[in-house]
């Protein structure tokens, strides 16, 4: 936990307990939570936390490049603190987001540009029905 504080300091951010808790939560979940999910979880330890703080923190982390915003769930923004190269599977039914580390060809021989447009990143989502939803 001390490392986290240092990391924040380096970037010029204050290591408030709320922030540390949000980051800690993000690092320990695979759910790719929405702001509301983060809020609900942090509220257990910090009953007075507000949405503003959650949104502020998520926005701050997004700008500093420490989390990524996923654009797959049409209803709400979802976040991922796992920056290692990976893709996602999105279940239409339960809205679950599953990490896919199996890297197919695509990202390996990625060109720098496509039709003159500079590629900075790639977003790849597999969409369908997840394993557990198939059973129900």
């Amino acid at each position: 936990m001390k490392k986290l504080a240092e990391m924040l300091h380096k970037k010029g951010f204050k290591a408030t307990p709320q922030r540390l808790e949000i980051i800690n939560y993000l690092m320990n979940t695979k759910s790719h939570p929405s702001a509301e999910e983060v809020y609900k979880n942090i509220k257990e330890k910090f009953p007075t936390i507000s949405f503003a703080t959650v949104y502020n923190t998520l926005e701050t982390l997004k700008k500093s490049g420490d989390i990524k915003e996923l654009s797959i769930d049409h209803e709400r923004k979802r976040f991922d603190i796992d920056l290692s190269p990976h893709d996602h599977f999105f279940c239409k039914k339960c809205k679950k987001v599953i990490d896919i580390y199996e890297h197919k060809s695509l990202k390996k021989d990625l060109p720098d540009t496509i039709e003159g447009n500079i590629i900075e990143e790639i977003s790849l989502f597999y969409i369908g029905i997840c394993e557990s939803c198939q059973k129900t």
Copy 2:
């Protein structure tokens, strides 16, 4: 335009002038417009059209599978009536969405499932700075 009406009738929808105009607009733009963009454009011919009608129509077309909702623009939903297999480039700066028909390996040897999850579709976005934004 007659074909459009027939197509709608086949699906059990009424071919209202508003609908025809919305579909016509979608078929003649490459901008992958948001609901608001559609609304503004249709309003020129139908000054009394409401957002409700635009959203209703887009929702109807989405459910019937005649348009696709793009999940790349974090701010708002965007729509594409081009159902041919293609990908998109999203410009971070001007928010433009550009069609990419150049098919890389990925979608060709697509498995039916990945880690037990049934894949129904794939969403692939190239994200970066478009050609015209590079110049400014």
